[in-house]
């Protein structure tokens, strides 16, 4: 059993505690999902379980914690590692060796486990996670989902009783996330392993959890209970739950299957779908037969498409399908090896980047690549100076639009992932680009932050700006994108309106659309609008 009694913790130098008087219990064999807004202390709570907090981070801690009879505040993370396995968010950043088998053995070697036992455990774990075929592979050649399963395997070799995972699927595409979650469910069911996991995209995982713990932030008691109980009370909820709550469905359905019973009785008026305003037909970006290979590996193969002014386009597809490469071609960072990319009539091969960035803005996947200044405001001013624009013009409006006004003087690196993402976006918008390109803008964002992003995209449309984004987030796409392009191995597999594509896809489809299978309904708002 795991118990927290009156735990209060502050990071070194922090004015406010992250956890305040936190008390809760987790039974053996439970599958617990920890949710909360960005910055609510989810990661800190998880790190208390194996002693990384306070041993690795320092700071001050009060109260008592007990994990399977051990006290992680007194024991070191090393001692706790035999009891608690910990898997981190970024699959890239947690590997020590370069091959799968060596990585699996690393923890056992540290614990001086005899060689014969190691052999046996490696075999078992490889089978448990269904990765025996990867055993001799180099980690750098694995896909995201495979990497995360190897990371889980590498802590399971110590035969821990508790497995803690900090947003393990946030950087994975939907298919890879499914692989990881299915593996976790199996471990929980077959081995009775206690699993504690934090996640923002609840729609992916809520059906697997026995219990949900919502951390509202320091000072407020956690809300605990079955997923149904907790989700009926909290603000952060996936679209299906939002719909169920709005229509007073009882018991609240957690899965599409559970919701179908209610959906059948829905009486929706046969109004014509609220067509999203058609963008103009003047093509702003024209791509003709674009081919590109990096390091001899074909990344884009014969892409042809046109994007009109004012369109909001989502590029989707598995990790490695060429999304980022296509975005970089559009902004002129890469040049076609064959074919042509024209942005507002300018051929990217013959146009200097300085010309293109007068109207194109690009926010990279990792907001950290942009942020360097001492304050959020300074980041925006830097972009304006670079573009020779009058300093400070329109900055207040951008900050307000992205809910950053209160953080204007904050140090960007101190902010949460979601806030940094918005600062990066603000820094690009400061140049007032008319074509905005966003690479995976929803990584690490909670539902409220995503809603703010959707709202921003709506405003951009009102201004007639073109937005192109690559994302795995079907709900964001459903809420605020006109057109979806799905890439597969560098080729366009599907290109159509969001409604059309979602209704005909099993994977790239929003929860509401999966439930109703009707191209008029992609979001909760679509359904509510058509209620009699």
């Amino acid at each position: 059993m795991i118990s927290f009694r009156h735990v209060t913790y502050s990071y070194p130098g922090a004015n406010q505690p992250v956890l305040q008087d936190l008390s809760l219990e987790i039974e053996d064999g439970e599958f617990v999902l920890v949710v909360g807004k960005s910055g609510a202390g989810k990661s800190t709570f998880l790190r208390c379980i194996n002693g990384l907090v306070p041993h690795f981070y320092g700071g001050t801690i009060g109260g008592t914690i007990e994990v399977q009879g051990q006290n992680p505040i007194l024991s070191s993370p090393r001692e706790m590692s035999a009891l608690v396995g910990f898997v981190f968010q970024d699959p890239e950043a947690q590997f020590v060796t370069d091959t799968v088998e060596a990585e699996l053995a690393f923890a056992m070697e540290n614990h001086n486990v005899p060689q014969a036992t190691m052999r046996k455990r490696v075999e078992e774990v490889l089978d448990q996670l269904n990765i025996a075929h990867l055993r001799h592979r180099r980690i750098s050649t694995l896909s995201g989902g495979e990497k995360q399963r190897v990371a889980i395997a590498s802590v399971l070799t110590l035969e821990p009783q508790v497995l803690v995972l900090d947003e393990p699927t946030s950087q994975l595409d939907p298919q890879a996330a499914e692989e990881v979650l299915t593996a976790l469910q199996k471990l929980n069911a077959d081995l009775g392993l206690t699993i504690i996991l934090s996640e923002h995209r609840l729609e992916r995982i809520v059906q697997y959890a026995d219990r949900l713990i919502y951390l509202p932030g320091a000072g407020y008691p956690p809300i605990e209970g079955t997923p149904r109980e907790v989700l009926s009370k909290i603000e952060l909820a996936p679209p299906l739950i939002q719909l169920g709550r709005a229509l007073h469905w009882e018991p609240l359905p957690l899965t599409i299957k559970e919701a179908r019973r209610f959906a059948r009785q829905l009486q929706l008026s046969e109004r014509t779908p609220a067509e999203r305003p058609k963008p103009s037909t003047s093509p702003e970006i024209i791509i003709e037969d674009l081919w590109y290979a990096s390091n001899g590996h074909p990344a884009l193969r014969g892409i042809s498409l046109e994007i009109n002014q004012g369109e909001r386009v989502a590029i989707m597809g598995r990790n490695g399908s060429g999304k980022t490469t296509l975005l970089k071609q559009i902004v002129g960072l890469l040049s076609p090896q064959r074919g042509r990319v024209r942005v507002r009539g300018l051929d990217t091969r013959h146009t200097p980047l300085e010309e293109l960035i007068k109207f194109v803005g690009y926010v990279p996947q990792d907001p950290n690549a942009l942020l360097f200044a001492d304050s959020v405001k300074e980041e925006l001013l830097f972009t304006q100076r670079n573009h020779g624009l009058p300093e400070g013009e329109g900055i207040d409006e951008i900050l307000r639009l992205l809910s950053l006004s209160e953080l204007a003087e904050a140090y960007p690196r101190d902010l949460s992932v979601g806030e940094r993402q918005r600062v990066a976006l603000a820094a690009i918008l400061a140049a007032r680009p008319e074509i905005i390109v966003l690479d995976e803008p929803t990584r690490g964002l909670d539902y409220l932050q995503k809603k703010a992003l959707a709202h921003y995209l709506e405003e951009e449309r009102a201004k007639g700006h073109t937005v192109i984004l690559s994302t795995h987030d079907v709900e964001l796409v459903a809420a605020s994108v006109d057109r979806v392009i799905i890439l597969g191995e560098g080729e366009i597999v599907v290109d159509g309106s969001t409604r059309e594509v979602m209704t005909h896809s099993m994977v790239f489809s929003s929860q509401v659309n999966k439930l109703l299978r009707d191209d008029r309904y992609l979001t909760v708002e679509d359904v509510l609008r058509d209620l009699p």
Binding site: R78, E101, E109, Q115, R137, L353, E354, F372, F382
Partner: protein
């Protein structure tokens, strides 16, 4: 893959030979042997690709150094052309001998680079770490991770540069480095923290948990440091140097004893047993033969290895069959790898899979 000790011997032997001779014919032989080994073992290693870039860069630096040598050194009898005498440093005769000397010196350095490329692609860093004594183990792991950080840093540097360029960033003064440097440093630092957390959560680090032992260790290190200071100060005050040297020796002894005590607390097991195979013996023996042979020739008949294009020697390098034979033995690991079917001493590696992942 063969036992890492065999590879270490091969590397020491090849590098020593490359350092002891400037004879271009012998250097070509060493380079050919190393190139052959690099190509054969590199087939199964993704590391080989990353070394390719470095080798190309090395070749470029080599080409640049040739004119440098030729322009700076004006001795020799084969004059190619003459620059005006009043040009500082550069003025004077440009000779064929100087060009040849620059060519050979650069080539020797590039050969060394090639030898290390072959060694690095052949031996897994984690296997090499096992040869390190226990008390250096942790430092070794940190160093090996440090090395893997370099390619990662280069990748993030590329991303940061692109992101800032799109933001309109241009170089005008030294201050313009900041938007590139700051994100690079903070990203690398955050990455390092994550990795350290992941290692600690899997039981790495152990070390001393007994407070009494920790106190003893501190005292030992303090004693060692005091003795070093004493040993350095004593000869200044007193004429007899032997006492100072004795103190330094004692300090060294205590220091290593302290390391040994720390090492005793690092208890690790190994997943794979390193096996010494017949081909390991073959490589080790042939490398030892080259090392001994070249070492012997160097100490008895040093002139046999040297090359001097200036008078009274000639531009044409001499060649001795016995030296040629010894150096050609260095190609043996490549031959062994070609004819051997299954990898034998360690984890077999498969590099090409269908799940090649790129960030997208």
């Amino acid at each position: 893959m063969r036992h890492p000790v065999a590879w270490v011997l091969w590397t020491v032997s090849s590098a020593t030979a490359a350092l002891l001779t400037r004879n271009p014919l012998y250097l070509i032989l060493i380079a050919l042997a190393a190139w052959f080994v690099y190509l054969v073992v590199g087939q199964s290693s993704s590391l080989a690709r990353s070394w390719q870039g470095l080798l190309k860069l090395g070749a470029l630096i080599w080409l640049v150094t040739i004119p440098f040598n030729a322009l700076m050194i004006h001795h020799g009898t084969h004059v190619l052309f003459t620059l005006p005498k009043n040009w500082p440093l550069l003025g004077g005769a440009i000779t064929l001998e100087a060009v040849v000397m620059g060519l050979v010196s650069g080539f020797a350095l590039w050969t060394l680079l090639l030898i290390f490329a072959a060694f690095n692609t052949a031996v897994d860093a984690s296997l090499l770490l096992r040869l390190v004594p226990p008390f250096f183990y942790q430092a070794g792991v940190v160093a090996s991770i440090g090395l893997t950080f370099v390619p990662q840093m280069l990748l993030s540097a590329q991303e940061i540069r692109e992101a800032q360029r799109i933001r309109g960033h241009r170089f005008r003064s030294w201050r313009d480095f900041l938007p590139l440097l700051m994100p690079l440093l903070t990203t690398a630092f955050e990455h390092a923290i994550q990795l350290a957390e992941s290692m600690e959560a899997r039981g790495f680090g152990g070390g001393l948990t007994n407070p009494a032992e920790e106190t003893l260790l501190r005292r030992l290190l303090l004693a060692s440091l005091s003795l070093v200071l004493g040993g350095l100060a004593l000869p200044l005050l007193w004429e007899i140097r032997i006492f100072g040297e004795l103190l330094l020796l004692l300090a060294g002894g205590i220091f290593f004893y302290a390391l040994y005590r720390v090492g005793r607390h690092v208890q690790r097991s190994h997943y794979r047993r390193l096996r010494w195979t017949r081909s390991s013996s073959l490589i080790a023996l042939s490398s030892a033969a080259t090392l001994l042979g070249i070492g012997l020739i160097y100490s008895v008949d040093r002139a046999a290895l040297t090359y001097y294009p200036y008078q009274p020697s000639g531009l044409l390098p001499p060649f001795e069959a016995r030296i040629g034979f010894l150096l050609s033995l260095l190609a043996l690991p490549g031959l062994v790898s070609l004819f051997e079917e299954a990898p034998s001493a360690s984890v077999p590696l498969q590099t090409q899979g269908n799940g090649g992942e790129r960030s997208a």
